[in-house]
Structure formats: C-alpha cells, structure tokens
Symmetry: C2
C-alpha cells in the first residue's frame, strides 16, 4: 500500500480528496489528511476505510517529521510561506512533495539537496500557477517543434462567479481568499515587455491599464497585469521574446471601479485606523476625503475622483454600501480589513451558487516568414458548493501529479515546476477526461 | 577646558563649527571634528588652535569609544540610523549628547538608562525637527498659561531657494539631500485630524491635497502633509485637539507637477529597471506609458494624466528634459535614482546662490468664549554658499544647546526633545540674536 499525506484541509482540497478516494482501491492507496483543525480533517476523511484524519501543528517538528516519515508522497496545501519546513523534512526522509504555490527563493535553494536525495519536488501545480504552465508549454513547444519563433505570449486567469449567478453590478463574487483579492497587486510595481519596450506600472495605476479579451460563449473579460511577467521569459524559454504579459481576469468595468478603492487608499494594509464604536461605512469612506462639513461624502468622492453622478461606477459604489450608516464594529483595523468586511457582505458566494475559472492564452509567432496567432482558452464551472471550479482546477492537477509520482511516471528529482513534456502531456490528457480542457484556434495575427 | 566632539562633518555642520569656534576662547572649549573622511574634517577644523580633526569610522567600536571618552558633550550629525551605538557609548561613559534627528524607537528605549547615568540626550534639535518645537511650544504654552484652549495647530517648514535665485519654472532647487526630496512621503500613508475628523492620504494622492499659505514679504507657499501629524498631539500636550496638521512647503504649482512623477511611478525606489546603454530620458519616461508606436511620448503622457498641452505643468516637465534624448548612462538604477539624476542636472544650487528656510505655524484657540488665532512665521536666507540657511538653522540650535549643557543650564537627564520652557526660552532668545526670529501676529479665527 502507498501512503499519501495531505497537509491542510481547507475548502480547495475537496476535489483532491475525491480523486484520491476514487482511485484508492484500484491503486491501493491510503490517504492521511492532516490539519491543525482536526474536525476539518475528519470531515474531509468522512470515515472512509482508506482515509484517516490527524491533527497536525506544522510548526511542531516532532509531529511534522513523524507524519511525513509514514508517507510516500506529501501534498502541502499550506499557505506558501509554510512549505519550507515540510520540504526540508521531505528531502531528509526521501519523500516526494507537491505544492500549488509559487516557488519561493527558499524553495529554489533546496534544489541541489532534493536532487541528491532523489526527491521529486513539484511546485506551481494548481490552476494559476499550474494549469497555465501545462497548457501554455504545450502550445509553445508545438510552435517551436514546427520551427516557429514565438513573438508574443499573453496569459490571463480569473476566478469569477459562474454566469448563472452573476447578478450584481460588479459581476464579481469572492470565490477565493478575500484578503488576497483586496491586496492583489499591492506588493510592488508591475513589470512586462511589449514589442521590445519594457513597461512598468505602479500599483496605484494598475487598475487603469487593462486589456479586453472575448471568449466565445462567455463574453468579455478585462485583464489587469500580474506583478512580474518578465521572469516567465526564463521559465518558458522565451529569452528574447518582444512581448510577454500575464494578468488576471475580471468582468469589464470591475477594474475602473476597484481603482476607486486604490485611489482613496482603502486597500492599504500597512497601518491601523482610529475607530470609535459609532463609526459607519460612510465615516470610513470620509476618512479618505478632504474635510468639508457642507458637502456630502458622495459629492466629495465624485469631485475628488472625477466620477459622474449618473455613472455605472457610482452605482457600484452605492450598491456596496460605501455611503451607508451601517456600523463597522472592528477594533483597530487596517483600511484593507474594513474594505474586506464591506465587500464580504455583498460578494460572498451563496451556498448553492457556482464559481467559474477562466484561462486564456495568446501566442503570436513567425513560421516560414509568416506571422500567425493561436488563442487557447479554458472555462471551468463549479459543479456545486464543494466541487467548486477552484477546488477542481487546484485539486485535480495535484492529485493527478501525485498518481504519476506514485506510479513512477514522474521521477526526475529536484525542485521544479510542471513545464516538461513528460509531465504536461499526460496531465492535460487526464484533466480533459475530467472536464478541464482547452479550446485552441488559429486567429489573424494582431500585434501592437 | 571642556571638550566637544562633533561626529560627521557634512555641509550642514558649517554654522555649528563657526559658533563653537567663535566662543571657544571665552568659554575655554576644544572641538574635535570626527569624520570617516579625514580631509573633510580637516577642512572644517582649518588648523584652528582650539579645533582638531580626526578620522573616525563610527562602526569601529574601539575608535568610537576612545573618541567619546575624551568628550564632555557629543554632537552626532550622522544619518539617523547610526546614532544608536554613539548614544549607547555616551550613556556608558556619562557624556551628554545632541542630535538633529527624529527620535527613533531604539533611541526612546534608552531613556531609563540615560536617566540612571545622568546623561542629557536631546534629539530633534535642528530646524525641522528642532526650531519648530521651540517656536511652537512657546506660543502653545503662552495660550495655555493665559487660560486658553488650543483648537487648531498647523505647522509647515520648507527648504527652498532664496527669492533672488528663484529662476526656474519649478521655483525649486535642491538645498538638502536630493534623495530625501525624491522619496519624500513615500514611506506610508499620511495621518492627521481636522475638526475632529481623522484623515488619511495615500502617498499617490499626497501631492494633490495641498494648502496655500501667504507670508508677508515672501509671497505664497503650498504645503503638503507630513507623514504622521497625530503623534504630535502627545508630544505637544494637545491630546484632544480637533485639528493638527504638519506639512512641508513648496512654491505653488510644485506639488501638482511633482504628482506627475508619483503618478507615473518614477519615485519608486523598490526595484531596478532594465537599462540599455542607449537609453535616454525620453525612453525612461516612456517606460511608464502604454505601448503605442504611433503616438509621441509627450502625447501619451498628456493623455494619460489629463495634462493640457499649453499648461505651465507641461512646461515644467519639458524644461526638466523629461522628453530629451540625453543618455541616462546608469547601471541597474531604480526609477527614483534616474529621476534624481535628471533633477540634479537642473535643480542644483549654484556656488554663489543662496537658499531659504521658511517656517510657519498657525494656532487656533478659545479664550473666555472667544475664538482667536495666531500666526507665527520665520524666514531665514542663507548668507553664502557655506553659511546656508540650512546650515544656520540646523547648526545654531545644536551649538546653542551644547553651550547650555556645558554651562549646566540644561541638566535634566534622559532622552528628550526640546519642548520645555527651560530649553526653548533661552534658545529662542539666542537664535534671535543670530538673526533667526519669528514674527507673531493675531489674525481673525478661521476654522474649516
């Protein structure tokens, strides 16, 4: 029997557990689900004969080493900064490991040790990063194998509400960690290259520099840039590519309205505001506007940011309750924490509502003197409140990769991300069988 | 004979050294000028019989302790983060110490130890902070002593070019560390309170939320907010004051134009840009604008930030050379470093040009049911390229305080700032004798 250890039993682990459970008899697997919260782990294990739940404090070295020592492969769904002790133990004990997080510097530094230990340590094997690597590398390799030269690569992913439940003026609901959505982009300037020209966008302009993309059957999406697109030149072997841009999808109109929060300073998480018990949402908004006792908060905001009164944008802000007399009831929050609370009241996905993951790539290339372009897109709609699109697209790649490692199909040791043909071909195949597939089509070349 | 040790011999130490030299015979003082750069120290000591220069690496504990052990009072003109080892040694050796820097947390933590050792450790005794404390506390105490209640306190300081040499479209030249000017305000959100309402301004809006102040004989100034005005409620004993605001002066029109650099992202010091050897100022500007090969850099900028072509603002940008074909010639600079280089070419104060320090306070208060207001202002013009307004207003308070410590007039031990009557009264008196004086006048009360 082979043992799989899942560390972290949060809501995006559902599809991972389902996949392992479904194959556990035929593959002779046993899954241990570990979480600091034992109840959460027990709920996921559901008293299945081939699963068990354990309580695990990952900071406790004895508990951690003990649990890892009994596994053949370890899947860490912990927050990104908590992977390193797990990875270190996996290398020490010769266990393979998978994460859906971006490779950190500290993780990359373990590469040599992982290779010496013969340990396969795959990161970035969820949805974004993850499925984006698999699907992009497939097309990039096809172009290069045919003798083409890649001139342009753009890639967008969005976690959104499914069209059927898209019923608010923002066309958005939280389908993922709300805090990450509130702070998105705030860590530093955005970097990319377009037609050979480097471009940098400061955070406070990020949501005003967007690009519109249409996807057949799903309408229009609006993309804003992710932090560092330049590093993907190396990752994808596109060293001299003139245009590379990675971004995040929202529905059109979202970014211009979100920009209001950025411009006001409401997404700042670096300091605490003074809050009295009577403070309202309206008072919160007023913190960021100039003092004037004769003007309404609405008028000051419209004038400050040049927003027409009868605009869709103003409607979005009013609908959220930004001018309401509801109490904040928080102690010493940061602006970002108050904004998150206001948004959660309106943007929480209902129990019976479904989410949607949208991914889109654009590849421009030159083949035998001719310029060509391929668009590749994937849309996954959640099945229910547990099998969300997010859980499916994060959990299935992890589970499929775990299977290939246990079967010995993936065996190249070292700290890596899923960009080799040996990994992406079988994985894309099996994702397709599970309903996660890409539509590729040739379109007319369009540069900038 | 009493010994004074000056650590750091930069250009703002000139007036300090002159004052000590002038009093050295009558007071029987000896001044040791220490700097990592011995030549710089020697130039300042000028072979005067009561002065000597030494080479001192302040990181070298043996050198540092040795030098401090021979002094009666130590004046540290080092960058703020380097004061702590000096302060620690001063406490250990029972030597008094002065700095013109803001008190850091680490410095404040030494208070108990300083008191135990009987050491007077005064910080914030330059111009801003320094003369602002002295002059503000005098009026605040007068109002309170008369039974008044302070309702409003605003304070601004600016280091500017003297009117006679104010000959460029920005009405600004560097009279102080250019790097600090480029990064001003970027460390975090601004906090103040106005008529009882807390207000927060994010960095990227800071230069759009200004206030205009007139000073008789010197025209109009424009103030933008300093980072944290709220902490001065405690410092000045103004716990429940409804309005407190501290800011920095520029000439009108400066801030709106500076805002262009902020909005573009040119003041960002957190990352390095890719620079090829041919990169020009124009290319630098274009890094922050959307790609479009058919539009000029000028047009893209004007459109992006909504700047009219025939505006004074556009003239300011063109005059600086932001669209010029001059080469950058830097290796891996941050945007802020490139901007500093561009500005230094145009904003450097000429050898025979003079600078100016402008300080302004506004005090609103209620006395016997009546609302009153006092304005207090100070303008100091540099005498020549060595006795600059900056050197005078930083160096003289330090020197005068050193004298009072050596004479025993200032003797309360502990880590402190100059806000007690025993300190500010004699100091303001002597500053006045040296030409640094405040004009106070009653004006009509004007709230918000």
């Amino acid at each position: 029997m082979q043992n799989i250890l899942l560390i972290g039993a949060g809501r995006s682990t559902y599809s991972f557990v389902e996949y392992i459970k479904a194959h556990s008899e035929s593959e002779n697997w046993f899954l241990t689900i570990a979480d600091q919260n034992l109840e959460l782990a027990e709920e996921k294990a559901a008293k299945h004969p081939r699963m068990k739940a354990i309580s695990l404090d990952v900071q406790d070295e004895i508990q951690r080493v003990h649990a890892i020592s009994k596994a053949d492969v370890v899947v860490s769904m912990l927050p990104a900064h908590m992977h390193i002790p797990v990875a270190t133990d996996c290398i020490a004990l010769g266990k393979h490991m998978l994460t859906a997080s971006y490779i950190s510097k500290e993780m990359r530094a373990l590469d040599e040790r992982a290779k010496e230990a013969g340990v396969v340590l795959i990161n970035e094997i969820g949805v974004d990063p993850g499925i984006d690597h698999l699907s992009a590398m497939k097309v990039l390799d096809e172009i290069r194998d045919a003798g083409g030269e890649v001139k342009l690569f753009e890639s967008f992913t969005g976690g959104l509400v499914a069209p059927e439940y898209d019923d608010n003026p923002w066309n958005y609901k939280f389908t993922w960690n709300p805090r990450n959505v509130v702070l998105a982009g705030s860590a530093g300037a955005v970097k990319f290259i377009q037609e050979g020209k480097y471009k940098y966008i400061p955070y406070h302009q990020l949501f005003r520099r967007t690009e519109i993309v249409s996807i057949d059957g799903y309408g229009k999406f609006e993309g804003y840039a992710n932090r560092d697109s330049l590093s993907y030149r190396e990752v994808y072997g596109l060293h001299d590519i003139p245009t590379i841009y990675r971004g995040t999808f929202r529905r059109p109109g979202f970014c211009r309205a979100w920009d209001v929060f950025v411009k006001l300073g409401m997404t700042d998480d670096s300091y605490q505001i003074e809050v009295d018990p009577e403070m309202t949402y309206r008072d919160f908004t007023n913190l960021f506007l100039a003092y004037n006792p004769n003007d309404s908060v609405e008028l000051k905001l419209m004038h400050y940011l040049n927003i027409p009164q009868d605009s869709e944008l103003m409607h979005k802000l009013e609908w959220l309750g930004l001018f309401s007399d509801a109490k904040i009831n928080m102690t010493k929050p940061s602006p970002a924490q108050v904004l998150q609370k206001i948004l959660e009241e309106k943007w929480t996905l209902g129990e019976d509502e479904k989410d949607m993951i949208v991914m889109f790539h654009k590849f421009g290339y030159e083949l035998k003197g001719e310029k060509r372009m391929i668009e590749s897109s994937m849309v996954t709609i959640g099945k229910n409140s547990k099998e969300t699109a997010m859980a499916l697209t994060v959990g299935l790649p992890l589970a499929i990769a775990a299977r290939h490692i246990l079967n010995g199909n993936i065996s190249t040791p070292g700290v890596q991300i899923p960009i080799s043909k040996e990994i992406y071909l079988p994985m894309l195949e099996e994702l397709k069988e599970n309903g996660i597939s890409f539509t590729e089509r040739e379109v007319d070349y369009k540069g900038y």
